[in-house]
């Protein structure tokens, strides 16, 4: 059985996931391109890459993404959160066209239409599958006790 657990604040969380994920990936790509190809024989180069400015900035954004993503997974299904937060690709394409004045091919516009339709489909439906024993707005007491013990 599925039901909706969404509120306005929770839609904001999905928006944060969308923006931080797309910007984080773009920063990582830019950083790795500036470092050049990494050889399998030199895996330490991947560790070294973490400290380059673009990769580091990408990681900071992706940490923000991960925190928001985990929060969303605590009140919505994975198969709801993933499509619902995929509008980042649409935002990146619109920015490329209207801000960076890049050429966007008809196939990419078609891709934007498909993603928007997919997001529309999933966000109109229920967000959470009830498994009976663990409804969305209750807390596993054992873990709550652990959390309260860990509180400074």
């Amino acid at each position: 059985m599925t039901r909706s657990t969404m509120t306005f604040r929770r839609y904001i969380v999905l928006g944060v996931i969308t923006i931080t994920a797309s910007c984080g990936d773009t920063f990582l790509s830019r950083g790795m391109k500036s470092l050049g190809p990494v050889s399998l024989a030199d895996p330490a180069a991947l560790i070294h890459a973490i400290f380059s400015p673009w990769v580091a900035a990408g990681i900071v954004l992706l940490i923000g993404f991960f925190a928001s993503y985990l929060t969303a997974l605590s009140w919505a299904d994975l198969t709801y959160v993933l499509p619902a937060s995929s509008l980042g690709y649409v935002i990146m394409t619109l920015l490329a066209k209207f801000w960076l004045h890049e050429h966007v091919s008809p196939m990419r516009w078609l891709g934007v239409v498909f993603i928007t339709a997919g997001v529309g489909f999933v966000t109109q439906g229920p967000s959470y599958t009830d498994h009976g024993a663990a409804p969305a707005c209750t807390v596993d007491e054992k873990h709550l006790e652990q959390a309260e013990e860990a509180r400074p």
Partner: protein, 130 residues
């Protein structure tokens, strides 16, 4: 990238990212479902209490290891191939593998609406590569 070896290497890079990303997503989603609503935990125990509940969960730890492996696979692939190829290919495939894995491992109700959404987003992300 017309040489068969290069195509195979690209497929292996993408496959590696997809497998680790799917395992990581399923394990972290399972951990969050096990914990319950984080908003409620945060209200009762504060943000550090909520963070402690998450990081002390075993499934979450395994999930993070898988996601880290996916992340390094992504970095490796980015250094060899274009973002416009690796990003859409790995991401679009992960939508489908996650839907399958969520149905079988998390027992989520992946109904026709969600399958349609996953496939539309998968196709849409793949089209962005052109």
């Amino acid at each position: 990238m017309s040489h068969p070896d290069e195509v195979l290497a690209t497929a292996a890079m993408i496959g590696n990212i997809v497998v680790w990303a799917t395992a990581g997503d399923i394990l972290t989603a399972s951990a969050m479902r096990q914990l319950g609503d984080l908003d409620v935990i945060r209200e009762r125990s504060g943000i550090w209490g909520a963070a402690a509940a998450v990081v002390t969960n075993g499934r979450f730890g395994l999930g993070v290891i898988c996601l880290a492996l996916s992340f390094f696979s992504l970095l490796f692939a980015f250094s060899h191939r274009d973002l416009s190829l690796i990003g859409p290919a790995a991401t679009s495939l992960t939508f489908v593998t996650n839907a399958l894995a969520a149905k079988f491992f998390l027992h989520e109700n992946v109904d026709r609406r969600r399958w349609t959404a996953a496939i539309f987003v998968c196709v849409g992300v793949a089209l962005l590569a052109f």
